[in-house]
């Protein structure tokens, strides 16, 4: 019964999201990204890593090359499709890490009395540490890979989730219904699971969807800087880096990865913003109070 209820509220939120112009555009952009990634698993026009000396710097829309080729004759459209894989996987994985780190730290910081204060200070310190710097340090130590990038981005954005989450959880823990639960013998774990997490979930959800946008950008930036995806795997960030030197000679080539990164970041940001609007409790309460009052 409760599963059904939460499912229908997820559906309701999603429908409200699609009614917002920003939410609709964002959802379309994200769908495109995921679609590209899925299609590239089974089909790309050319092998994205295939070097074709006969077709170096082919212009767009020529000879079956939808977006043209790069200086080694590799098909840009195929690279772009395949690059969507790493972008999607890295963004989702980094956000999962971010959620675990963020929610975990937030619970520890909100629940503990003295230990909570220490965790809260730790969060403050980590928030001040730039994510990209953390990623570069980790890459320098453990070698640049998608995994390193995911972990670094996850931790870097996770502490921001933790900071917001802690504030929300602290105020949820101070509510009368939590006090009421304690007077009926509820343990802290039960209160966190049943009362605090459901009540802060909308805020965390918004934070995490914005984290997806940050993760796309951070993954591209790391690949661009040479700390992310290793060379044979196509990646938008590295495409951008490879092609940018030819921007004066073949300006159209560098536009594609740039546009792809922009679209993906924009998609997640728009959805995050729209999600914040549709889950705003002040707006939601008005909508919820109206339809079915039993009393």
């Amino acid at each position: 019964m409760s599963e059904l209820a939460s499912e229908s509220s997820v559906l309701r939120t999603f429908r409200a999201l699609l009614r917002e112009p920003a939410g609709l555009i964002g959802t379309v952009l994200i769908s495109l990204l995921v679609l590209c990634a899925l299609v590239s698993l089974v089909w790309t026009p050319y092998d994205p890593t295939l070097v074709d000396p006969a077709a170096v710097w082919a212009p767009p829309f020529s000879g079956g090359r939808l977006l043209g080729t790069d200086g080694s004759g590799r098909d840009l459209f195929s690279q772009l499709l395949a690059g969507a894989q790493i972008t999607t996987v890295a963004a989702v994985a980094a956000t999962v890490v971010s959620g675990i780190v963020g929610i975990g730290l937030a619970v520890l910081a909100a629940v503990g009395r003295r230990s909570g204060e220490i965790v809260a200070r730790l969060i403050d310190v980590l928030v001040a540490l730039p994510t990209l710097l953390l990623a570069m340090v980790l890459s320098a130590v453990y070698g640049g890979s998608v995994l390193t990038a995911v972990v670094a981005i996850g931790i870097g954005t996770g502490v921001n989730v933790a900071r917001v989450g802690r504030a929300e959880m602290t105020s949820a823990l101070g509510t009368d219904y939590v006090l009421a639960a304690r007077t009926s013998g509820a343990s802290t774990a039960w209160i966190v699971r049943r009362h605090v997490l459901p009540n802060v979930a909308p805020v965390l959800l918004v934070q995490l969807s914005l984290t997806l946008a940050l993760a796309v950008l951070a993954e591209a930036a790391l690949s661009y800087l040479g700390f992310g995806t290793a060379p044979p795997t196509p990646s938008w960030g590295r495409m951008l880096q490879d092609l940018q030197v030819y921007v004066t000679v073949h300006p159209w080539a560098v536009v594609w990865p740039g546009a792809a990164i922009t679209a993906a970041v924009l998609g997640f940001s728009l959805v995050g913003d729209a999600l914040r609007d549709v889950t705003d409790p002040r707006l939601r309460r008005q909508a919820a109070a109206a339809p079915e009052v039993l009393a």
Partner: protein, 262 residues
């Protein structure tokens, strides 16, 4: 038999005593009204008695429940007593219920926790409790969210939660203050009936003498964190000795309420 014995209870915030040497005794089946103006330390006394004073409060004195001193006990040791021996009803039914949880589950949770019934049995018991507090169509009500109910209905749910563990003592902290007068009367009648039927002791906290007079047999008057006067209801009402009591009586006579004992 003495159920709850509060002795020299003092709660300080940064050196300032908000509850200052309060001593109260509640026997099984007793009905004590704790009256005082806002800020006199009534609610804090009750919360400190079940070990739920705010984290930054410094609590001293003794609180004995069934002869066992509660002060200094860990949360883990206090948890089964909360709800199991002492149930608490809060002032604001609006905020004392989780807005995102169906009320049936909010009652069934404590039932499951405090009585050891399995989830299915606890859900059935929750519906019984909702019926016991006089909610119409309790099976449907159990599926409602708090925002779908009226203030009076929400307070009935709050009472059902307090009853979940079949406590020997019910602490009602201004349970009718947030309600309008007709609903107040219904809730008071309900509390009156439940305390009788279930053989509970009652600690009823209010700033409103008229309300306390309807349910209490003894009253203690609290002012500035201290018990100024204590005794049987009639005696305190007719022969007040303390200025704080007299002030409350003046406010009470000015109100249009017609008390049940007159």
């Amino acid at each position: 038999m003495t159920l709850l014995e509060i002795e020299d209870l003092t709660v300080r915030f940064g050196g300032r005593a908000v509850v200052d040497g309060v001593s109260l005794t509640i026997d099984a089946g007793d009905r004590l009204g704790l009256i005082g103006a806002s800020g006199s330390g009534k609610s804090l006394t009750a919360l400190a008695a079940v070990g739920l004073a705010p984290d930054d409060a410094e609590v001293t004195g003794r609180v004995r429940l069934d002869g066992r001193d509660l002060i200094g006990l860990r949360d883990r040791e206090l948890a089964p007593l909360r709800g199991g021996r002492v149930g608490v009803v809060f002032q604001e039914p609006q905020t004392a219920l989780d807005p995102l949880m169906r009320v049936g589950r909010q009652v069934a949770g404590p039932v499951h926790r405090l009585t050891g019934l399995d989830r299915r049995a606890a859900a059935v018991r929750a519906v019984e409790l909702l019926a016991a507090v006089g909610l119409p169509d309790p099976e449907n009500m159990a599926r409602a969210y708090p925002h779908q109910m009226s203030g009076g209905q929400r307070q009935r749910v709050g009472i059902a939660i307090a009853l979940a563990g079949d406590p020997a003592l019910l602490i009602a902290d201004e349970p009718t203050t947030a309600l309008d007068v007709t609903v107040q009367a219904e809730i008071l009648a309900l509390l009156d009936r439940l305390v009788d039927e279930r053989d509970m002791a009652l600690l009823f906290i209010s700033h409103d003498l008229a309300v306390v007079a309807r349910v209490a047999r003894r009253v203690a008057v609290l002012a500035a964190g201290q018990v100024r006067e204590e005794g049987p209801l009639e005696q305190v009402l007719h022969e007040p000795t303390d200025d704080a009591t007299k002030a409350l009586l003046t406010a009470y006579r000015a109100s249009a309420w017609s008390p049940s004992w007159s």
